[in-house]
């Protein structure tokens, strides 16, 4: 287990360097020599930063909806979806330690590929089914309940 201990010391030194260094806090980049994995961990500061950002990015959408602040459903929907997208990026960076270099870039490649498929699945399904729905006969809830 001496290798583990050495690695721990090495990382500690690196982490300290990070804290003195740049402000973004998450433990990627510089001294890692490119084999930084998505599961590798940041520092207390990076986790707390991510947590505070997440709380703010969660609280605002809840406030917008519960207080009906904007007064317009479409406007509110777009705003809270934007907040969700930003929060997902925050989680990816501060909690999952995502970056473009880990595992030789393969984790990022897999993520981009997956996101492509997710967007095609979501947008495609909703778009196609919305248009099919418009070709259906208009029906009130009462008729829908008692249709043959």
């Amino acid at each position: 287990m001496s290798a583990t201990a050495e690695a721990g010391i090495a990382r500690k030194v690196q982490d300290d360097g990070h804290d003195d260094g740049h402000g973004d806090g998450h433990g990627d980049g510089a001294g890692q020599g490119g084999h930084h994995s998505p599961g590798a961990h940041g520092s207390v500061r990076s986790y707390v930063t991510g947590f505070v950002l997440s709380v703010v990015l969660t609280a605002i959408p809840f406030w917008l909806v519960m207080g009906d602040v904007l007064g317009d459903t479409l406007k509110t929907s777009i705003v809270i979806m934007a907040f969700a997208a930003v929060q997902i990026v925050v989680h990816m960076i501060y909690f999952l330690h995502m970056n473009t270099k880990s595992e030789g870039g393969w984790t990022f490649m897999a993520l981009v590929f997956t996101l492509t498929l997710v967007v095609i699945t979501l947008v495609g399904s909703i778009w196609v089914m919305y248009h099919l729905d418009r070709n259906m006969m208009p029906m009130t809830p009462h008729e829908a309940l008692h249709r043959p």
């Binding site: 287990m1 290798a3 583990t4 201990a5 050495e6 690695a7 721990g8 090495a10 990382r11 500690k12 084999h35 994995s37 998505p38 599961g39 590798a40 961990h41 940041g42 520092s43 207390v44 986790y47 707390v48 991510g50 947590f51 997440s54 709380v55 969660t58 959408p61 809840f62 909806v65 519960m66 459903t73 509110t76 929907s77 809270i80 979806m81 907040f83 969700a84 929060q87 997902i88 989680h91 909690f95 999952l96 595992e103 984790t107 897999a110 993520l111 590929f113 997956t114 498929l117 997710v118 699945t121 979501l122 495609g124 399904s125 909703i126 089914m129 809830p141 009462h142 829908a144 309940l145």
Partner: protein
Amino acid sequence: MHETTAPPGAAAPVFYQQEEHAHGESGTLLGFWLYLMSDCLIFAVLFATYGVLGRNYAAGPSGAELFDLRLVALNTGLLLLSSITYGFAMLEMEKNRVDATLRWLAITGAFGAAFLAIELYEFAHLIHEGATPQRSAFLSAFFTLVGTHGLHVTFGIVWLVTLMVQVRRYGLIADNQRRLMCLSMFWHFLDVVWIGVFTFVYLMGSMR
């Protein structure tokens, strides 16, 4: 504290361990990441299903009538807290402190269990009101999506408890560190999926 006897698996060839040190094991972590991406596709399909069927109430109750956003906000907070406590467990693991790691893992598990308890209470409440999965397409899609996420959290907790036993028994050996890192990705990934759930299902469903 730990015995000198190595657990099964630790006797594996050491050549790559020395090269990559405890944080390497690239194959496993990349493979687990690919698994998470495939899991992401499962959730994408369930989200798409909900997106298509989410407004088909069949004259039944709508999200605006059913959802209690205060409960959802509480649940979101619990999951968010469990994410940061898991992060602290990983930091303690890095410092090789077994007890502190186990303590943070236990706190994480408690938050996860509280999340599940509230979700089950919500489900029971809905079913009691007659809003069962059979009631409408909206409710079928809702229970499938949110239930699948809850199932993931359940298995995450089972995995967490298993790893706590492993760490207690064998210490923070390289194998256990690798496993904890996989669970870390899994746990944070579930929190990412929950962002989609509370935004897309609960918040947007609560608006008319």
